[in-house]
């Protein structure tokens, strides 16, 4: 247990008044090692936010056990809260504060000495390119800058485990990468970051390990390489040119794309298909499947298709 930042065993969450509907989390077991960035991916309503809120001691669990840094979320909340920080989904900084005040006062509220809070604030603002906005009131900033300010707030803290629930939603690509940089820095300081996101490229770029949740259940868990090894077709081959679908059928699963086909295949079949295509003058590219492909194969729907129950909306 000592090496685990978070350990969930058979965690189930049923919201009061959910009227016998499906649980938000169903018998979910998951171990998250200390240090590094752990990604949690899933569609809206999959249960990501519920899991984060239970782990961050904001929400009670219905059954099962969940420990953070070895402390039980049911009985040792105080010990957990002393060592965590959280940017909740859809949270906004207090609008009448300046950017600098949001970070600095948060740190002081956590009990940090003023000099330490000041030093950490300046470092975090610089890290997230917020120094030039430090005296600006938050309500005069764009949504992206507000989100960055919240990220700076928790990244500047002394917490050992950081919960970032969709921290880059609404950010432009440059701002996203600045947040990524700061999150990477936090993980280099031997802190654990639990990151939920809809952006599969984000979790692929940042996370050493990740879990895929769908309808409150854990569907896949591991490093991106391990996840690829677990899917039926770990390679993708795009084939463009004069080719008929029937000719590709024996190589794997086929999906039509603009001007050709995308074939999901095992390694041997992918190599064979590539050789076969090149001999016939087709345009091909071959590589390992992306997280998006894995998600599609496991869940059966793309991550941005939102037809899940409204469990997470209800909890908010």
């Amino acid at each position: 247990m000592g090496d685990l930042a978070l350990s969930a065993q058979h965690v189930t969450k049923v919201y009061p008044g959910s009227g016998g509907g499906p649980p938000a989390l169903a018998d979910l077991s998951l171990d998250i090692p200390t240090g590094g960035i752990y990604g949690l991916i899933g569609r809206n309503g999959a249960g990501k936010t519920t899991f984060v809120r239970i782990s961050a001691t904001q929400l009670a669990l219905t059954s099962g056990t969940l420990t953070v840094l070895g402390h039980d979320v049911r009985t040792e909340e105080r010990a957990i809260r002393a060592r965590i920080a959280c940017v909740p989904q859809e949270s906004r900084p207090l609008y009448f504060l300046t950017v600098e005040e949001v970070v600095h006062l948060y740190l002081k509220m956590r009990g940090l000495p003023p000099a330490d809070a000041r030093r950490r604030t300046e470092a975090a603002l610089a890290e997230l390119s917020l120094t030039e906005y430090r005296r600006r009131l938050v309500n005069r900033l764009s949504g992206g800058l507000r989100r960055r300010t919240l990220c700076a707030m928790v990244l500047a803290s002394d917490a050992d485990v950081l919960f970032l629930d969709e921290p880059t939603t609404g950010l432009d690509p440059v701002a996203r990468r600045e947040v990524w940089q700061a999150v990477r820095r936090a993980s280099r300081e031997h802190r654990t970051v639990l990151l939920t996101t809809h952006y599969l490229d984000e979790v692929e770029a940042l996370s050493g390990r990740l879990a895929l949740i769908e309808q409150g259940r854990l569907r896949l868990e591991g490093t991106p390489t391990e996840l690829r090894d677990r899917v039926r077709f770990p390679y993708r081959v795009t084939v463009r040119g004069d080719v008929r679908r029937e000719a590709l059928a024996s190589y794997g699963r086929i999906a039509p794309i603009d001007g050709g086909y995308l074939v999901f295949a095992r390694e041997a079949e992918a190599r064979e298909l590539t050789r076969w295509g090149l001999e016939r003058g087709l345009r091909l590219s071959m590589g390992p499947v992306s997280l998006e492909d894995i998600f599609l194969e496991v869940v059966g729907k793309p991550i941005d298709v939102d037809d899940a129950p409204l469990a997470e909306e209800a909890e908010a």
Binding site: P16, R81, C86, P88, S91, K108, G111
Partner: protein, 248 residues
């Protein structure tokens, strides 16, 4: 958290929710004193100055009550719209520190009003050591039960607009209808009975003694203190058991 950490958290919360918003919008200070001053003006004019003392003590009670009940809007807004409470829950800040910090921060808005009414109280010649001690004790209890009431109510609100509906109702039920701005004896017997269900009736009874220059029997004063203390304690207990720090 050590005691020093708790104090730092408390002070920071007062700064965050009390002093800094006033820097951004100084009119917040006028907001809480507007209603009590309006009552003071009308009651003094209509009574030709006879009920000035009642208008002053009523103004003090209303100001303190508003400092407590005003919390429900802030708490609901912070919890649902900004998710600030979730940020605080997932931090070393303990629930009682948050409660105390938010309550004290709300009191900051009332300080100009309190200062003004206390000044009027002194200038009108009501201030004796005993009267001032009574006034401070009563106002603290009024602030206490109003704060506990606000925390309990805020737990159940899902949208800040719901608080806009409740605040005037609470003011009406606790300060306008009960004999806070006038003597209890002005009411018919049946209304006096109904007024006894409002804790502010007992608060007003205690502070009105100083402005009416009528000696209150010790038993009556004891009953007033007892009821006021019991209501405050009960509302604190309700808040402690019903107000949610962690969602169920």
């Amino acid at each position: 958290m050590t005691g020093r950490h708790r104090l730092r958290s408390l002070g920071t919360l007062v700064l965050i929710n009390g002093l800094i918003p006033i820097r951004t919008q100084p009119l917040y200070l006028v907001n809480l004193v507007a209603s009590p001053l309006s009552f003071l003006f009308f009651i003094s004019v209509i009574s030709h100055g006879h009920l000035l003392g009642y208008a002053i003590t009523g103004g003090l009670i209303l100001t303190m009550l508003s400092a407590g009940t005003g919390l429900q809007s802030d708490l609901t807004h912070y919890r649902h719209d900004l998710k600030f409470q979730d940020i605080v829950v997932a931090s070393p800040v303990e629930a009682p520190v948050y409660v105390a910090g938010m309550a004290l921060s709300e009191l900051v808005y009332s300080l100009p009003g309190i200062a003004l009414f206390v000044l009027l109280y002194v200038l009108a010649g009501y201030a004796s050591p005993l009267n001032l001690a009574t006034l401070v004790g009563v106002l603290l209890l009024v602030w206490g039960f109003a704060t506990a009431l606000a925390f309990t109510l805020a737990t159940y609100f899902q949208d800040v607009r719901e608080t806009f509906m409740f605040s005037p109702m609470i003011s009406l039920l606790l300060t306008v209808l009960p004999p806070v701005y006038y003597p209890l004896s002005y009411l018919p017997a049946w209304a006096q009975f109904v007024a006894r269900f409002s804790p502010t009736t007992y608060a007003a009874s205690l502070v009105q003694a100083s402005v009416s220059h009528v000696a209150v029997p010790l038993v009556t004063a004891g009953l007033d203190w007892g009821v006021l203390g019991a209501v405050t304690t009960a509302l604190f207990l309700v808040a402690a058991f019903k107000a949610r720090w962690k969602e169920p």
